[in-house]
Amino acid sequence: MLHTVNKSPFEKNALESCLSHAVEGASILLIEDGVYAALGGTSTAARMAEAAKRFKVFVLGPDLAARGMDAGRLVEGVGIVDYEGFVDLVAEHPTSQAWL
């Protein structure tokens, strides 16, 4: 399963709900305002660092760049993909689920 999360973890419960439902080994792609969850040094970073051990976590690079965040700030274990990588993730997983 590929889960997409597009909400800031500081504003909404979408990421938390995703993390508590996703099955071990699932892939999670953070897009739009969801990319803030990938940043280190925040009040949610420890939660994401722990999640990155149980899930394959990715962040959409163009959304990260738009928000002025660079790769050096990411929590360890989070990978960066572009829109083509997003398409590949969709193709690799039989089902996608959006946490809105």
């Binding site: 597009n6 163009p62 083509e84 997003f86 398409v87 193709a91 996608s96 959006a98 809105l100």
Partner: protein, 119 residues
């Protein structure tokens, strides 16, 4: 691969429409088929026929139309959701058509993947 897309929000107010467009372009560039894009909830507003975004900003209505024109992507607006919000048969931006919710379920059945963009 045959990919179906569901767009839940209107243009500009939420990023859903932008992300869906960027995803579709990338999928087409990689040789996948965008079998249908279904517009539901406020997503029907992507078909608004008389919008005129600022000239220094992107025109999402036109970008959807180009996807239909250049790549034959089927852009379907839900009739019921559209009527609630003022988007009607015969009066949409170029490239869109109006139909029923069954077209979304059909996309779910026919496509290898269905990807949702919303708020």
């Amino acid at each position: 691969m045959k990919i179906g897309i569901l767009v839940n929000e209107g243009p500009y107010n939420h990023q859903a429409s932008d992300t869906a467009l960027n995803f579709c372009k990338a999928a087409l560039a990689k040789g996948h088929t965008i079998w249908r894009v279904f517009f539901y909830y406020d997503g029907v507003l992507n078909a608004a026929p008389r919008a005129e975004p600022p000239t220094d900003d992107r025109n999402l209505f036109k970008q959807w139309g180009e996807l239909a024109e250049k790549h034959g992507v089927d852009l379907v607006v839900c009739v019921a959701a559209g009527l609630r919000r003022g988007i009607r048969e015969g009066d949409t931006a170029p490239g869109f058509r109006i139909s029923g919710l069954g077209q979304l379920i059909e996309a779910g059945i026919q496509c290898d993947r269905l990807v949702t963009f919303g708020d």
